[in-house]
């Protein structure tokens, strides 16, 4: 008699007993367990810098502001201002996407990112109100308090609720995924400028690959971006949070759905890598304040 003939398909216990008795079932279970164990035990990938360029001086500190943009593209090691990983197709795509076929248009695009910073007045005002309120209260304001402050300043209550919920939900997602040890509970979004500033540094390095400038000029531009951008932030984590939330808010127009964070907030893993010392993350070793 065939062994499967002993299984009574109407009796779940009989089916389970039969499965337990099969060697190939244990092989499948073993492979699955081993797979998850390996993933769990395996250390996360380390951040690899370029050996041709420094990783611990002022220049490295300045270019590290573009870490998330450079790594997310990816256009090469984070400390390489020449964006060596860009293929001919990547370059063509970048020129089209950013509208930078000439040196002048490239410089104008960087200037726009540094000055205009993808800002929307309503968002800037609401975030400033949050910062002012936090300073007054000595803690991160609750959603209700923040909404009340917006309404008091003349904002629309329903729109305010939508914006506050969007910011707080993205903020919470970043904190959960990157870790509370990096994005500490007292850290909150005060500006979304981080995204545009990170992009400005990335675009500067891509300009070198496109032949619009040489390395010394790119370094000078990156220094200027740092000088103008850094004072608004208190730490690398503050900047990283602003970058990710800014990216999500920009591309979603502030309308956060179930899949929005998966779509636009994917930079969280690079943020975690950049801020983790064990993974050789530059943000963990380089000081936020330069000189």
């Amino acid at each position: 008699m065939h062994p499967s003939a002993r299984v009574d398909l109407n009796d779940l216990g009989s089916v389970v007993e039969w499965l337990i008795a099969q060697w190939w079932v244990w092989v499948i279970v073993g492979v699955v367990v081993l797979f998850f164990l390996v993933i769990w035990i395996m250390p996360a990938a380390k951040v690899k810098p370029s050996e041709k360029f420094s990783t611990d001086d002022r220049e490295a500190d300045a270019i590290a502001l573009g870490f998330l943009q450079i790594v997310n593209m990816p256009s090469g090691p984070w400390n390489d201002p020449t964006a060596p990983a860009l293929s001919a197709n990547d370059k063509k795509h970048l020129v089209e996407m950013w509208g930078v076929p000439t040196r002048e248009s490239w410089l104008a695009a960087i200037d726009r990112l540094v000055t205009v910073r993808r800002r929307r007045d309503v968002w800037v005002t609401c975030l400033s109100l949050r910062a002012e309120l936090a300073q007054r209260l000595g803690r991160v304001p609750k959603a209700k308090e923040w909404i009340a402050a917006i309404v008091e300043a003349g904002g629309d209550k329903r729109d305010a609720r939508g914006f506050v919920t969007a910011i707080e939900s993205v903020e919470a997602q970043v904190r959960k995924l990157v870790g509370k040890d990096i994005v500490t509970p007292d850290l909150y979004v005060r500006t979304l400028d981080g995204y545009a500033l990170g992009q400005a540094v990335g675009l500067t390095t891509w300009g070198v690959a496109l032949g619009h400038a040489d390395v010394p000029e790119a370094r000078a531009i990156i220094r200027r971006i740092n000088e103008e951008g850094r004072p608004a932030f208190s730490s690398w984590a503050d900047f990283g949070l602003s970058y990710i939330v800014g990216r999500v808010m920009h591309w979603s127009d502030g309308s956060i759905g179930e899949k929005t964070f998966d779509k636009y907030g994917d930079g969280w893993s690079e943020f975690k890598a950049a801020a983790t010392a064990k993974r050789n993350g530059p943000w963990a070793s380089l000081p936020w304040r330069i000189g």
Partner: protein, 358 residues
């Protein structure tokens, strides 16, 4: 709001000359192909690729009908021939529609390049601050002409709301637009066309004002509460008289440091007379709006931390709400009524029919 009277911008020494000749000639096949290359149109959307696709479809339909006829299927189900002819005609009509639109955009591109302006065949997610743009999840702009001439800096094109793989398109009729920069930021003001509104204003909060004379019969002004005086300061009678020239065709919106002239999607930017009229109107609106807004200050705005460039108080930056499209309301209502009707008929239809039959 500042009480200072702004001075009109100094007229430029050289008058503006617009070359309309490219809009008067019909582009040949060589011009079309050149345009496709210059505008960077991808291969799958080029003239000969689409033509080959349509011819292949026609050939496939002919072969299928011939084969169906041979096996005697057409005699038994003659409706199949109808389907074949229908899809063939649909393909031909689609190609004609595509070719006409391509030819129009080629004319527009030649016009832009001749005048030293920039041109883009397609732009996506430009994130312009206008209310009609911000409510769309994804937008696609076709035939965009952009001038950075300081005498008439503008961008114009036709906008479509499109869906993505993950989400459907926002219900919004396509529309034409002309974007004009303003020297300073101003409160959000929408001049809603009473007869044919393009910007969905249903559900937008704020004050609704009826201005004087003929203006009130054509336009209604929407402005954030507390900014009514500011609207009157900007829209002086002479400016309103010029806006009236838009007549039943368009609407106007001021938001941040931009003015938007909205026009119906059927606006033929490639027609010389239409383009001349739009450029003249845009030039005059730009000049008058610049003169009127240059000295504008929102005195209720308070300085805020990290708020460089924010010069309008929070209440005046945007009209509250998103604005609902009448098309969406009509479509939803029709859907609800239809499904209610079907349900009612399914439940009581038999009795109803019997009652008619006596």
């Amino acid at each position: 709001m500042s009480a200072a009277t702004p001075s009109a911008p100094r007229p430029d020494a050289e008058p503006l000359r617009i070359e309309l000749a490219p809009l008067r000639s019909t582009p040949g096949i060589g011009t079309l192909l050149g345009y496709e290359r210059a505008a960077g149109i991808p291969l799958h959307r080029r003239f000969f690729t689409v033509l080959a696709g349509v011819l292949l479809l026609t050939a496939a339909i002919v072969v299928a009908l011939w084969w169906l006829g041979r096996i005697g299927m057409l005699e038994r189900v003659p409706l199949l021939a109808g389907f074949g002819v229908f899809y063939g005609l649909l393909g031909a009509a689609g190609f004609l529609w595509y070719a006409v639109a391509l030819s129009r955009r080629a004319k527009l591109a030649l016009f832009a390049w001749t005048n030293g302006w920039a041109y883009a065949d397609l732009l996506q997610d430009t994130r312009r601050p206008g209310a009609a743009f911000t409510r769309m999840r994804r937008s696609m702009e076709r035939g965009v002409v952009a001038s950075d001439d300081p005498r008439i800096p503008f961008e114009l094109g036709i906008v479509h709301s499109v869906g993505s793989r993950d989400e459907g398109a926002t219900l919004q009729r396509p529309f034409g637009f002309v974007e004009l920069p303003l020297p300073v930021k101003v409160p959000h003001i929408v001049l809603r066309n009473r007869r044919r509104s393009i910007v969905p204003t249903l559900g937008l909060r704020g004050a609704r004002m009826d201005l004087e004379g003929h203006f009130a019969t054509t336009f209604q002004v929407l402005v954030p509460e507390g900014y009514q005086r500011d609207a009157l300061y900007i829209f002086t009678p002479d400016l309103m008289a010029r806006v009236l020239d838009l007549g039943a065709a368009g609407e106007l919106e001021l938001v941040e440091d931009r003015a938007y002239l909205y026009l119906p999607a059927r606006t033929r930017f490639d027609a010389p007379d239409v383009m001349r009229g739009i450029i003249e109107l845009a030039e005059e609106l730009h000049r008058r709006l610049a003169a009127r807004t240059a000295a504008y200050r929102d005195e209720t705005a308070v300085p805020i931390a990290h708020g460089e460039g924010v010069t309008i108080g929070l209440g005046g930056q945007r009209l509250g709400g998103q604005g609902v499209s009448l098309l969406a309301v009509a479509a939803t209502s029709a859907g609800v009524i239809l499904s209610a009707g079907i349900t009612a008929f399914a439940l009581f239809g038999g009795n109803l029919l019997r009652s008619f039959g006596g």
